[in-house]
């Protein structure tokens, strides 16, 4: 196949990150993503029907109006009018564990989360959805209330840049505080490595869900956290708690992989049980593919 035009959303995240700052990367990713999507990823959510138009190749069949097809044997699709009062809040975990990468050639989890958050915010704001940002570690570090006015995306990006890598994570405390900030029903997108107490965090997320929020969780992991590798014998130290353990990666790799799989499965099951969308994302996954998880 001849090489097509470069689509940043499908390139390796580390390569994309080398092109420039968060804004450039996010814009490039979003442009590529939207060009390939033909429609808004969030269309259909919190919007109302406005008119019909003739079907064009590429339109999703689910929006085909079957009644008109039955009556006139012609293909029409239904179009919706976007609302402007959708409130989205993007939550980015800025704990110390997020500032880690398995190899220097990859983005840290935090860098990946920042760029993904910026891209999400740009998409939402282009849909004229009010979008805000919260960064947190043990405490809530940055809070940008949801806005739709011009300059909001720049503020969100600035907020991401201005949030330093934190210390340990106590996400449930931060999430509980967020419940007070998110009084109106909306969408909450959490970007985190979820290296904290699952039950406490789930309690907070359940509460958001109970308040009517649509909750989406991006579980971000470095590939090296999924497949254990390293020297024959090594002391691994938790950068947050300084707890260390001496292991032989080769002989523990299988058991570790099983543990990680179980952990992911546990998160996925628990989230599904409470109506929370859960997506496992590794930092070598192109941003476009990560965004596509939302469609």
């Amino acid at each position: 196949m001849p090489p097509g035009p470069q689509r940043l959303d499908l390139l390796d995240p580390a390569e994309v990150a080398r092109l420039g700052g968060i804004e450039i990367v996010a814009e490039g990713v979003v442009e590529g993503f939207l060009a390939g999507l033909h429609r808004s990823p969030f269309r259909g959510f919190s919007v109302e029907f406005t008119e019909h138009r003739a079907y064009q190749p590429g339109d999703e069949l689910r929006y085909l109006d079957w009644r008109i097809l039955g009556r006139s044997d012609r293909l029409f699709v239904k179009q919706f009018e976007e609302e402007t009062n959708l409130r989205s809040m993007i939550l980015v975990d800025a704990s110390r564990s997020m500032a880690w990468r398995g190899i220097p050639e990859r983005l840290t989890k935090r860098a990946y989360a920042d760029r993904l958050a910026a891209a999400l915010a740009l998409i939402l704001l282009r849909q004229r959805d009010a979008t805000g940002l919260v960064t947190f570690d043990e405490q809530v570090r940055q809070v940008l209330p949801p806005r739709v006015k011009a300059g909001q995306w720049t503020r969100i990006v600035r907020g991401l840049i201005d949030t330093p890598d934190g210390a340990g994570t106590a996400a449930h405390a931060a999430l509980q505080r967020l419940t007070a900030l998110l009084a109106r029903r909306g969408m909450v997108i959490l970007l985190s490595d979820l290296l904290f107490d699952r039950e406490l965090a789930l309690a907070a997320l359940r509460y958001l869900r109970h308040r009517g929020h649509q909750v989406i969780v991006f579980h971000i992991m470095d590939p090296a956290e999924v497949e254990l590798e390293g020297p024959p014998e090594v002391r691994f130290r938790d950068p947050e708690s300084s707890v260390s353990v001496v292991v032989r990666p080769r002989e523990l790799a299988r058991a570790y992989a099983d543990t990680v799989r179980r952990e992911i499965a546990a998160w996925r099951t628990a989230c599904r049980r409470h109506g929370i969308a859960y997506h496992h994302v590794q930092t070598d996954l192109p941003f476009g593919m990560a965004l596509r998880l939302l469609t």
Partner: protein, 597 residues
């Protein structure tokens, strides 16, 4: 269990390597940040028991692998049960002290069935030594009786270069020495391999004392051949007496041994070139040991002096004993006179010798026999004076002559001991003076010709012969004994001149002369020991009894000999099995190491 290379067991120290590596590796692991430690902890907690078991199993497997490899390198030997005689000598054996006695005495030069006996013995000796290992201690003994220690290669080279020697080997003594040597070695195996034609004469000297734990394996002799040889040649009274030895089978159709043609050839004498050669032939009546052929010599045509000759038999299976050189001295009768004090017995003996033309009288005497009074003459035989009061005067006369011997106080009675003068050996002496003085050298102890009670009785100093007793029946029984006249004959014709009898010695056939100044005083005729001519082998029972007894000795034919070697210490070399076990352990280690990753 024993080991071919026990030093290799030092490598067992390496068995600690896995444990040491384990400890060393645990000591300084690198430290890395890893956020998902909680997952690691969970995984380790859940698999801790399995990992501990795996570590223990791997440690055991690796340690066992090293131990097995090291032990295999040491080549362990395990005792085999039920080793029979058909093993062909295969398999390894425990470290063994081994003496291989290769009897290359003259009889090994016999040709039987077209093949040298020594060749057959050499093959067996080579085979024995080739079966030894570096853990064995090996000696090779040839007929010279020397125990040669060396590497297998060196001893094999020695065997290859071994030829039939002229020395006889007394197997009884040889086995006893060899058994003593191997018994002193701190090795589990002790064997003596006797590779000999096992002549009955070689095992006839007694019974070897063999210590417990020493095995003596003798290869049974093959077919023997009839042989006749020349035992000795002596010349006396104008005739050469050729004593025959050996064993001879009667010719087919006859129950009597065949006549033995003997040829003697008399060549140029000592320093007498140009005397020409004289040959003579005689016919023996058989070839059994003890028979003799007498051939007259043309005495009148032989000039005075030393003569050499050689007796020969017709060639047979053993050539070494078919010829033997001999020597004798042709001398003019001595002109002898006796002083009045010499005594009546001396005078009577001289009269007999004169009648027999062994001496002549009148004119200027060559030899004077004195009774202790003042003496003159070139050669003097001196008896102590009958009157003790004259002993001092006689001693001064001896001193004036330059003789260092003197008569001292009276000695105790006793028999005469004279190995070189058999005619007076054992004759009783009643009275005597102690002969004192002497020292060493030309006129010293080396000239003591006979002793009584260990003290000199007959000595020679230059041309003077001194007796400790008078030749009188009041002093000694010698004058009344049959050997008296031959003794006086020897005194006047030979002893006083410093000449000894012709000696017979073992060695390559030749004649050697001994000189004193310009005079030739003795000769030695060399040849093989007469017992080598008898090729009749000892019976297995006799050989077994002579070489150590049934508890120690096995006389075996060729195949059984080969099978019995080292059988007392035969072991299976299990290094191959251990290497297989090492492969299994390595495979198991690989499986455990990879399966659990």
């Amino acid at each position: 269990m024993s080991f071919v290379h026990p030093l290799a067991l030092l490598g067992l120290v390496a068995a600690a390597i896995p444990a040491l590596l384990h400890l060393l590796q645990r000591r300084v692991p690198p430290e890395l940040d890893f956020p998902a430690v909680r997952y690691l902890s969970t995984a380790e907690r859940e698999s801790a028991r399995r990992l501990r078991l795996r570590h223990l199993l791997l440690l055991m497997l690796r340690t066992a692998l090293i131990v097995v490899i090291v032990i295999a390198a040491a080549r362990p030997l395990v005792r085999l049960k039920g080793v029979g005689g058909g093993g062909g000598g295969g398999g390894a054996h425990e470290p063994t002290a081994l003496v291989v006695i290769l009897d290359n005495s003259p009889s090994s030069g016999a040709v039987v069935d077209g093949r040298l006996v020594l060749d057959r013995l050499r093959v067996a000796a080579r085979s024995s030594i080739a079966r030894t290992t570096s853990a064995d201690r090996v000696w090779l003994m040839l007929s010279d009786g020397v125990l040669r220690r060396g590497t297998g290669e060196a001893l094999l080279a020695t065997i290859d270069s071994t030829r039939s020697a002229w020395q006889r080997l007394d197997l009884v003594q040889a086995v006893e020495r060899a058994a003593r040597l191997v018994e002193a070695q701190p090795l589990p195996g002790r064997e003596v391999h006797v590779l000999s034609d096992l002549q009955r004469t070689a095992v006839a000297t007694g019974h070897a004392a063999v210590a417990r734990g020493v095995r003596v394996l003798a290869m049974a002799p093959g077919r023997s051949a009839a042989n006749r040889g020349i035992a000795t040649v002596t010349v006396s009274e104008g005739a050469a007496v050729i004593a025959l030895s050996g064993s001879s089978a009667p010719p087919a159709g006859s129950d009597r041994p065949a006549p033995v043609p003997v040829t003697i050839r008399i060549g140029g004498g000592r320093g007498g070139g140009g005397r020409g050669e004289i040959s003579a032939r005689g016919l023996g009546t058989g070839a059994v040991t003890g028979s003799a052929v007498t051939i007259s010599l043309p005495a009148q045509s032989l000039l005075p002096g030393w003569w050499v000759g050689e007796a020969q038999l017709e060639p047979d299976e053993l050539r070494a004993d078919d010829r033997r050189p001999f020597a004798w001295r042709v001398a003019s009768p001595a002109r002898v006179t006796a002083t009045p004090g010499a005594g009546s017995f001396v005078a009577a003996a001289l009269a007999v010798l004169q009648d027999g033309r062994r001496i002549v009288s009148g004119g200027s005497p060559d030899v004077v026999i004195s009774g202790g009074e003042a003496f003159t003459g070139a050669r003097v035989i001196v008896q102590p004076p009958a009157d003790p009061a004259l002993v001092g005067q006689a001693n001064r006369a001896l001193a004036a002559r330059g003789v260092q011997w003197t008569w001292g106080r009276p000695g105790t009675p006793g028999p005469v001991a004279a190995p070189a003068l058999s005619v007076i050996n054992g004759v009783q002496v009643g009275r005597r003076y102690r002969l004192e003085g002497a020292g060493s050298g030309e006129q010293g102890a080396g000239d003591v010709l006979a002793t009584v009670n260990g003290e000199p009785w007959l000595v020679r100093s230059g041309n003077v012969v001194i007796l400790a007793s008078r030749l009188d029946t009041a002093w000694t029984a010698l004058p009344a004994s049959p050997g008296f006249v031959p003794f006086v004959d020897a005194l006047v014709n030979r002893i006083v001149a410093g000449e000894a009898e012709v000696d017979q010695a073992e060695g390559e056939p030749r004649v050697e002369f001994r000189t004193r100044g310009a005079d030739t005083i003795a000769a030695t005729a060399y040849g093989p020991d007469a017992r080598e001519s008898d090729l009749t082998p000892a019976t297995p029972a006799n050989a077994t009894a002579a070489l150590g007894g049934r508890d120690h000795v096995e006389v075996l034919d060729g195949e059984r000999f080969v099978a019995a070697r080292f059988s007392g210490t035969r072991r299976a070399d299990v290094s191959g099995l251990l290497l297989v076990l090492a492969l299994v352990l390595a495979a198991a280690e690989l499986g455990v190491a990879t399966r659990t990753r």
